[in-house]
């Protein structure tokens, strides 16, 4: 109850940032939806980024989880991600090729990933309407698709495997119907 209430507040906070006309593109926009349960005290102090927070922890090693990205050639890359960091940020810090056109502001679908194990998928908070609106437009959408910017590292998902969907598609093929915009 407590957790979900704060998650909602988090979602709203993110939305307000997005709707603010002068919203800058600072890292504040990466504020993860459900890092609250771990970092609420820190967040109340200041909006430092998740990555910075992780380094303030005394036992850094314990606060990292293992994440594996599988790219569209099937190549795997295992990285350690600090709790509280989004998968989009983690990918970029580790040179994993995951697009992030809107830099985590929930305005595009380029950081689309597929959670490879449904059990892990079920451990994630449900996507918000806003995330679903973006997933509508993602290429190769699957039952366990999420946006990388909305998956936040937490100990429950230690070991999660994320596939970056294959982008190959023949646009010129006869009969191909592009999605409406």
């Amino acid at each position: 109850m407590y957790i979900s209430k704060f998650s909602q507040l988090g979602a709203r906070a993110v939305k307000n940032f997005i709707e603010a006309p002068l919203a800058s593109t600072s890292r504040v926009l990466h504020l993860p939806l459900d890092q609250n349960r771990y970092l609420l005290p820190l967040m109340q102090k200041s909006f430092t980024t998740a990555a910075d927070n992780a380094f303030e922890e005394p036992n850094e090693e314990k606060q990292k989880i293992s994440v594996t990205f599988v790219d569209n050639d099937g190549e795997e890359k295992n990285i350690k991600v600090p709790v509280g960091m989004s998968m989009l940020e983690a990918a970029h810090e580790n040179d994993v090729e995951l697009e992030g056109a809107c830099e985590g502001s929930l305005a595009c679908s380029t950081c689309h990933v597929i959670v490879m194990d449904v059990d892990y998928y079920n451990k994630l908070e449900d996507p918000t309407d806003e995330e679903n609106d973006m997933l509508d437009l993602a290429f190769g959408l699957s039952e366990t698709s999420r946006l990388g910017c909305q998956i936040i590292a937490n100990p429950d998902i230690d070991g999660i495997r994320l596939a970056i969907p294959a982008a190959t598609r023949n646009f010129a093929a006869d009969g191909y119907k592009p999605k409406p915009h």
Binding site: P21, M134, L141, P178
Partner: protein
């Protein structure tokens, strides 16, 4: 002499690359398709030197002139595009127009690879009587107007002689346009909307907007995000006829197969059944389904001006050939009176001299981005070194991200051709001049190009002007101003 000045002007962003046999690439158009192509080519080919040319002095194409001003988060992608030009092997050369500054054959003679990504800068026409009446605009023109595109800053649509606007089409562009007409102007005033547009919208008398589609709510072409937004406008009465929401078995099937149509349909149903009553003075948005425009009506008192649209009621039925559900007329007509019509029925690409073009589809015939010169024979003939990406390649649909995949495909085709050895000449005597050749030609024609550094001057000036008005930027909206600031 003038040449050396031109080169000097570019020296900050350009560097001479001495390695042998570079791949000299020109990308035409600096919108998402052009930038994603450049980005992917730079990553894939260490020897690629890329010039992105654009007919405007400003980069980013529709991110600047198409994306609605109240969608700042969608424009964040320009950060990524700007980083692409920071690469020393890539440069932006604005204010250069393919077709007038330089011809396609000249470009192909100068570069190993030419990628056309100049989009769709014209409009589909309905082809019904009265389309030329005053008060009828394409949504593209209207969008360019409020986004401060220098070609439409003088459009000055009359928003004061009428209280009703009809928008033809129900895609995202139609929804954007409806939202701009209906949203409280104080909310728009703090966006990067052109100031001439805010001034006109503040005085606007438009109270009622009709969004008209030929087919039903199941086939609506918008996305859930845009629909949610327009339905959520403050103090707006939304009307949807509940009878229009009835589904046929074919509709059910269509919804089952499309998540996006399902979610759009759900939002429309929810809005229809919300039962909010109309409070007088409230602005109104009417979704009108199953109506196709038959003709535009001319005003009796004001000759040459539109006074309404006559629609034919349609039913949606399956086309036996395509399997698609299409609208068919029923012979029943009705009129909607209005003084402003915005046609949002699709953009259209414009060919240049010497470019193979499929006028029916409005695209350049291509296979995976390779331009087909002749598809009539048994063997497909390609134009050597010529490629397409974005709307010119696949038609005017999709979101920014669609271009990411589209560029990936075109770049894969280029890579294949590079590996086959057909693009880079073997001996240095056959090398094409690339950038230097382009600049020489532009110089000989007195074309005053705009470098990325010069665009940054425009960018800084716009942001500074915006700050005074609490806007993220105040766009420069005329060619004269843009070029003046660029050369300061």
């Amino acid at each position: 002499m003038a040449m050396s000045i031109a080169l000097k002007r570019l020296s900050r962003s350009f560097s001479t690359i001495s390695s042998s046999n570079p791949l000299r690439v020109c990308v035409v158009g600096s919108g998402p398709a052009g930038f994603y192509t450049a980005d992917k080519l730079l990553k894939k080919h260490e020897r690629a030197e890329i010039d992105i040319i654009d007919r405007l002095p400003t980069p980013f194409g529709l991110v600047r002139s198409g994306v609605a001003p109240d969608h700042p988060e969608t424009k964040i992608v320009t950060n990524q595009f700007s980083r692409v030009v920071q690469n020393e092997r890539c440069s932006f050369i604005g204010n250069v127009s393919l077709g007038s500054s330089i011809s396609l054959s000249e470009l192909c003679a100068i570069y190993d690879v030419v990628v056309l990504a100049y989009g769709a800068e014209s409009d589909r026409v309905l082809g019904v009587p009265g389309e030329e009446l005053a008060g009828i605009y394409s949504a593209r023109e209207f969008v360019w107007w409020y986004n401060g595109h220098p070609d439409c800053s003088k459009l000055d649509p009359d928003l004061m002689s009428t209280d009703t606007a009809v928008i033809l089409g129900q895609g995202n562009v139609a929804l954007d346009v409806a939202r701009i007409l209906l949203r409280p102007t104080f909310e728009l005033a703090s966006t990067d909307i052109a100031s001439h547009a805010v001034a006109a919208l503040e005085k606007s008398c438009i109270r009622k907007v009709y969004l008209v589609g030929r087919r039903g709510p199941v086939q609506a072409a918008c996305t859930a995000k845009e629909l949610r937004e327009v339905l959520g406008i403050k103090d707006l009465y939304v009307h949807i006829d509940e009878a229009d929401l009835l589904k046929t078995p074919a509709d059910e099937e269509e919804l089952k197969n499309s998540r996006i149509h399902r979610r759009v349909y759900e939002l429309l149903s929810k809005a229809a059944s919300s039962g909010a009553s109309h409070i007088s003075g409230q602005r109104e948005l009417h979704f009108v389904f199953f109506q196709k425009p038959d003709r535009f009506l001319e005003s009796d008192d004001k000759s040459g001006y539109v006074s309404g649209v006559r629609f034919e009621k349609t039913i949606v039925k399956e086309n036996t050939e395509s399997g698609k559900q299409i609208a068919a007329g029923t012979g029943h007509f009705e009129n909607i009176e209005c003084g402003l019509v915005l046609k949002s029925i699709g953009y259209k690409s414009v060919p240049v001299d010497g470019l193979p073009f499929d006028h029916h589809k409005g695209i350049v015939p291509n296979v995976g981005g390779r331009v087909l010169s002749d598809a009539s024979g048994d063997r497909m003939q390609f134009e050597k070194g010529l490629y397409v990406c974005g709307w010119l390649k696949r038609g005017p649909t999709g979101i920014i991200a669609t271009n990411h995949h589209c560029a990936e495909e075109t770049v894969a085709s280029i890579s294949e051709d590079v590996e086959k050895g057909v693009l880079i000449p073997m001996s240095s005597s056959q090398q094409k001049p690339g950038r230097e050749g382009l600049l020489q030609l532009l110089d000989s024609r007195n074309v005053r190009f705009v470098s990325f550094g010069e665009w940054e001057k425009i960018d800084t000036a716009e942001k500074r002007r915006g700050m005074l008005k609490s806007k993220p930027r105040e766009k420069l909206t005329t060619w004269r101003e843009l070029l003046k600031i660029a050369s300061e």
